[in-house]
Amino acid sequence: MSKKRKHRKLLLRDGLFSTLLSLLVCYLFSLLFFNTSFFDPLSKALQDFSFLDVYYAERLNEQELTDTKVILVNVEHKTRQELANALDKVIESRAKAIGFDVILREFEKTAADTLLAKLLKEDRVIATYIIGDDGEEIKSHTFFGENLTSGFANFSFDSSSSVIREFSGRYESKQDIKESLPVVLARQYLSPKEWSAREIDEKIAKPRVINYQGGLDHYLHLTIDDILYLENTDLLNDKIILFGYLGSPSGNSFDIEDKHFTPLNTTTAGKSIPDMYGATIHANIISMLISDRFMYKVPRLLELTLLFLFSFVASVYFIWLDRRLNISYRTVRKTVLFVFSILLVWITLLLFKRGIVFKSATIIAVAVFSAGFVKYYKHLVRYINTKRKFKSYLN
């Protein structure tokens, strides 16, 4: 075996050892970091952060045409009578599906309630409810109907992050499988043939990353008054009309009722106020479902494989570099890692733009840690060599 080949073999072996050790230490550190209460705020902040948020927050996404298939109606703090009048007018139009993202908890024994109860039973109207932590359903008073066509308003059942990045289209309870409000509305909008051809049932079997198309201004949004004064309802023909709260007045950035954090928030980390109303999030999910623009997650196994490969390449490269450079080693290492991080985030965001969700933050963090770990591996080799002979590329 030639000397050069022998050296290469030693380099790869050292790279492998260094990678495995760095991964082990990294894992132990992560356990310590996430389980120590002292680091709790930091770990919580990290849980809410994703590099992918930069895509929306910095408006790197392509500017899209306005979605005219979904129209939002702001219920503001209007009376039940006004809500009923507006709902009645929308039902009279040729709207294809009507979502009513409002829960009427109390029965006020008024004529407006009677009218609302009648309207909510209409075929095209989809009511809503919330699934609580223990699976109980929080819905409108039974007066408004026991078995209304409805969908749950929860976005996701994953409570680890307060940022709405994913949505669950289905919820399996002990009795049956329930569908979310956007799913029921999209099902009503699309023909059964389109629905099955696009395999939407299979696609929503698991939580999916939301492909956000835009905020409130991406959709035509009307107030209850706008609806009531609308002379011509052609606008509503063949559309999905979603009644929900959009602030008082519409889009009020300081009104946080039914408002959530989304990746579109311009503040990606640190303190900020919620940025998107629940109804707008539902509208984004509906847009994604009816235009079949789903996001695809890179499988966890592939991510772990890439994590190992990048760490391994980083370890091998910096062990090799360590022997070649003396004074400039640190500068070169920092520059390479900086460029690597920027390029990998760029690739991640580029993939995201193409509908592929590849979470590279852990890969970058671990690869950078592995590169830094080379220094400790070198000391470890030296220490072992004082006790016994250990063949290494670093000798």
Partner: protein
């Protein structure tokens, strides 16, 4: 060959024609607006209003309208003018060119040189009147005119509102639902009569608390009362004219101090 080609061409043309006609029929819908843009001079445009081929759009000073077509394209019109339906297509809002890589590296560069600085919001509570301000006729004025122009300033976010006119003597309250910031009523001897005193107001609520609602009081003078008052202020007008004040200034002063207004 020609026999097959010709029917296909005719069919294609038909499809194109039907497609275009369908989109043309749909027209434009109002996506956003500020001010009082109007349709065919009379109809005020509201969010969701439809513009069809036969319609003409009118934009006044400070008016703005953003229209959307069925395809989701936006059309932004800002300048005061009259726009025929066919002209609207020229105002298509251009979508930003897709420059993902450029935007990303600009972002990285800004982060690198720490150019992204956040301004701290001032910790002050800001309050402004978000209700309706009654402008004209002023409170407690006496007037003599064949018709009255009631003007108010709507600082609220609701466009639709209600005009209230109360006959002080009979207590009869008239309510008129409208949009905009003015209403002109003639002295018809029904709603408005000379020699009567009225209170007027405007509210965004259909059933406001009338005890809390701010009203302006207005007395409609009969011809005799008007002429008597004219005589009273005549000397005053002459004195002010000699002092070099313009007629408008004198009328304004009399209206403010004597509550006797011409219009």
């Amino acid at each position: 060959m020609e026999r097959i080609f010709l029917p296909r061409l005719t069919l294609l043309f038909l499809f194109w024609f039907v497609g275009t006609a369908t989109f043309a029929q749909q027209g434009y819908f109002v996506f956003k607006k500020t001010g009082s843009p109007a349709l065919n001079t009379s109809t005020l445009l509201e969010r969701g209003s439809q513009l069809l081929e036969s319609d003409t759009l009118y934009l006044g000073q400070k008016d703005y309208v953003l229209l959307v077509n069925e395809l989701g394209e936006l059309f932004e019109i800002t300048k005061p003018n009259t726009y025929a339906f066919s002209a609207i297509a020229d105002y298509r809002r251009r979508l930003e060119a897709d420059s993902f890589t450029e935007k990303y590296f600009t972002y990285v560069w800004k982060q690198f040189i720490n150019r992204i600085k956040k301004k701290q919001e001032s910790g002050v509570v800001y309050r402004e009147e978000r209700n309706i301000k009654l402008i004209a006729p002023r409170d407690s004025v006496k007037m003599f005119a064949p018709e009255l122009k009631f003007v108010w300033q709507n600082n609220s976010d609701t466009e639709a509102l209600f005009f209230f006119l109360k006959d002080v003597k009979t207590g009869h309250l008239t309510k008129i639902g409208l949009t905009g910031e003015q209403i002109i009523l003639g002295l018809d001897n029904q709603l408005l009569k000379t020699g009567q005193t009225y209170q007027w107001s405007a509210s965004t609520e259909s059933f406001p608390n009338l005890n809390e609602l701010k009203f302006h009081r207005l007395t409609l003078l009969s011809k005799g009362e008007f002429e008597a008052l004219e005589k009273e202020v005549d000397a005053l007008i002459r004195a002010f004219t000699l002092l070099g004040f313009s007629e408008a200034e004198i009328q304004e002063a009399i209206c403010q101090d004597y509550k006797f207004c011409r219009e």
